[in-house]
Amino acid sequence: MKIRGKAWIPTVILSIALIVSLIWGYNQYKLKNKYEISLSNQYQRLFYDVKKHVENVQIDLSKALLSNSRNQNVLMLSQIMSESNSAQDKLSQMPINHSDVGKTEKFLSQVADYSYYLIQTHLKGEELTSKQRETLFNLQGSSSNFNKELSEAQNKIAQSMENTTTAQLSKVEEANQSVLNTQLLNLEKEMGKSPELIYDGPFSEQNLGKKPVGLGTKKVTLKEAQKIATDFIGVKKVEEISTYENGKDISLVKIPSYTFNIVPENTSKDRAIYMGVSQKGGNVVWMSNPRAVSKVNISMKQAEQKAAAFLKEKGMENMEPNYSLKYDGVGIFNFAYKNDDVTIYSDLIKVNVALDNGEIVGYDANTYLMNHQERDIPEPKLTQAEAREKVKVDYDIDSVRLAIIPKGSREPLCYEFKGKYRGSDFIIYINAVTGDEEEILQIIKNENGTLTF
C-alpha cells in the first residue's frame, strides 16, 4: 500500500497537465472567437457603409439632374465625388475577390472622376450639355442597380441573422459571404454592359486607352531589335543576349516591346543590363543597369553633362535638363523636349548616371514615346505681364518661361512661374491662351534632390 502510494505522483502531474492544456486550449478558442467577431464586425460595417455611400450617390445624382442652379450643382457633384470615392475605398477593403468587384470599383472611380470633371466645367461657367445630362441619367440608373443588389444582399443577410444561435454563427457567416458574392457578381455583369464615359480625366476610357504617338512606323524583327539594343549600350561584344518570353497578347500593351537581358563580355552574369525595345519603330523604351555604385567620384553637374551628351549622341536633339534626384550613388536626370523657347513637359526622358565613373546606367523614354509628335503650338494671347497679374501678388517669382504641360488629354500652353510662397517652393502654371490657372506644383527638396507634388 505504501509502495502503491507512489503511483499518484505521475497521475497527478499528468492530470494537472491535462487541465492546464484544456484551460490553454479554451483560452485560445475564446481568443480566436474574439478576433473572428471583431473582423466580422469590421466587414459588416464596411458593407453597410458601402450601401449608405451608394445610396447617397444615387440620391445626389437625381438631385443634380433636377437642379437648375449652377452653385447647387457644384455642391451636389462634390458630394457625389466624395461619396463614390468612399464607396470605392470601402468596397476594396472587403474580403471579395478582385475578379468579382473590379468593374464595380471602376464604375465608382469613374463616377467620382466624372463629377470632378463636371465641377471644373461648371466653375468655368459652362452649362451642362444635353449629352452630359444623359450621361448623368445613365449613371443614376447604374447606381440604383447597384443599390438594388446591395439591398437584396442586405435583406437576405438580415433574415439569416434573425434566428441564429452563436453556435451556428460561422456557418451563417459563410452563407452571408456567398450571398454577398452572388449579388455583387450580378452587379459586376451589369457594370460590364454600362456605356463608356466620354470626358477628360485620368480615369476616362480615352485616357486609359491612349496609344503612343512618338514611336514611328517601321516594324522591327527580333534580330534587328537585338542589334539596336547592343548598339545602344555601346558594347562591342556581348557574352550573352537573351529575350524574355512574350505572351500572345503582347500587342495590347501601350508600347509592345522586346525585353532583353544583355551580359556584356568580361562581366559576371548577375550584372546583366536590362532593356526594352519597341516592336514598332525600334525605339529603346527603357534601359537599366542595376549595378552597385560604391564610390562617388563626380559631381551632379558633371553627371548632368554626361547625360546630356549621351542624349545628343543617341540623336535626341533639343533635350533640356530639368530637376534631378540622387539615390545610391546614381544621379537621375529629367530631360524635357524644347521647341524653340517652349519647354514640353509631356516629352520626358529620364537618364540615370552612375556617379563613380559617369556611366549611363538607366534610361526611360516611356513618356517621350507616348507623347512626342510635331505640335502646332499656339501663339500666346496673354503677355507675360498679363499672366503675372493672375498670380498672387506676394508670390516671390524666381523665373518665368513658356511650357506645355500634360493635363489629361489636353496639352495647354502655359506661363511657368517658379517661385516661393511663405518659404516653400512652388511652380504655378497660367494658361497662356485663356488665362486660367492650370496647375500648381509644390516642390519638395530633400537630401535626395527635388520632388514635385
Binding site: S92, L252, P290, G362, T367
Partner: protein, 257 residues
C-alpha cells in the same frame, strides 16, 4: 503499469524520498508557472510592428541624412564602425548596425528603427527634415518606398532583379487604375490580393535588392509596360487569372492585363 512501478520500487531507497519531494515541489512550481502563463493573452502587444505606420523616419540601407551621421558617429566611438561618417547608410553602416544589434540583444535586421535608435541613444525624427518649411513637413515618399520594398521582398525575393521591379511596377500601375484602390497601401492591403500580405511575409525585413527595386519602380521604371496582374503558373490556384491577357514572362511570373 504494475511492471513499471515494481521496477521503480527496486531502485527507490530511503534517501530517494527526499528526491521525490524535491521533484514534486519543482513540478508544482512548474505547473503553477504554466497555469499563469496560459492566462496571459497573446494580445496585440507587439507594438514594434506598428512603427511603420506612425510616420517615424526609419534608417535603412540607402537612406542619407544627418541622423545617419549621428548613428555612424556613435557606432564609430563604440568601435562597431570603422568607415567614414558621411551620412550615407551603406554596406559598412549596415554591418555595424547588425553587429550592434547582435551585441545588444536586439532583432538583428540592419535597420535602425525606434528600438535600435533608443539603444544607440539618438532620437528619430518624423519622415522629413525639420529644416524645411512647415508647409512641406511630413510630405515624403520614404514611407511608400519602404512599404513597397516589403511587398516586393515578400512576393518576389527569389526572382531576378527585373522580376522584383516588375512586381513593384504592377502595384504602382494598380494605384493608377480605376479598378483598384487609389493609394499604395490600399492596393497592397486589399484583401485576397497578395499572398505575401495574407501570410505575413510582408513583415520580413526587406533586403537591399528589394529596397532598390522599390526605388526604381517609384522612379518610373515599368518593365511590364502597364500590366496589372502577375501570377506564378506553378502555384496559381485561381482559374480566373488565366483568362487575363498574357503579356510577358519575367522569372517565374507571367504578367498580364
Amino acid at each position: 503499469m504494475n511492471k513499471i512501478f515494481s521496477f521503480t520500487e527496486n531502485i527507490i531507497r530511503e534517501e530517494d524520498i527526499f528526491m521525490r519531494k524535491k521533484i514534486l515541489i519543482i513540478g508544482t512550481f512548474l505547473l503553477i508557472f504554466l497555469t499563469i502563463f496560459t492566462f496571459i493573452e497573446p494580445g496585440l502587444k507587439d507594438a514594434s510592428k506598428y512603427d511603420y505606420y506612425q510616420g517615424i523616419r526609419i534608417l535603412y540601407w540607402g537612406t542619407t541624412g544627418e541622423d545617419v551621421k549621428s548613428v555612424q558617429w556613435r557606432l564609430l566611438q563604440w568601435k562597431y564602425y570603422n568607415g567614414k561618417v558621411d551620412g550615407i547608410y551603406g554596406t559598412g553602416t549596415y554591418r555595424a548596425v547588425r553587429k550592434f544589434q547582435r551585441k545588444n540583444g536586439l532583432k538583428e535586421d540592419g535597420v535602425v528603427g525606434p528600438q535600435t535608435a533608443t539603444a544607440i541613444g539618438i532620437s528619430l525624427g518624423t519622415t522629413t527634415n525639420t529644416a524645411y518649411a512647415t508647409s512641406t513637413a511630413g510630405v515624403s515618399r520614404s514611407g511608400d518606398e519602404y512599404l513597397l520594398a516589403r511587398v516586393i521582398h515578400g512576393e518576389a525575393r527569389g526572382e531576378p532583379y527585373l522580376g522584383k521591379v516588375a512586381v513593384g511596377a504592377v502595384i504602382l500601375n494598380r494605384v493608377k487604375s480605376p479598378s483598384f484602390p487609389n493609394t499604395i497601401a490600399g492596393v497592397i492591403y486589399q484583401p485576397l490580393a497578395f499572398t505575401a500580405v495574407a501570410d505575413g511575409q510582408i513583415n520580413l525585413t526587406p533586403n537591399n535588392d528589394s529596397i532598390k527595386a522599390a526605388r526604381d519602380a517609384l522612379n518610373g521604371w515599368d518593365p511590364t509596360y502597364g500590366c496589372l496582374y502577375y501570377w506564378n503558373p506553378a502555384t496559381a490556384t485561381s482559374k480566373w487569372i488565366w483568362s487575363r491577357k498574357v503579356m510577358l514572362k519575367i522569372g517565374k511570373h507571367w504578367f498580364g492585363l
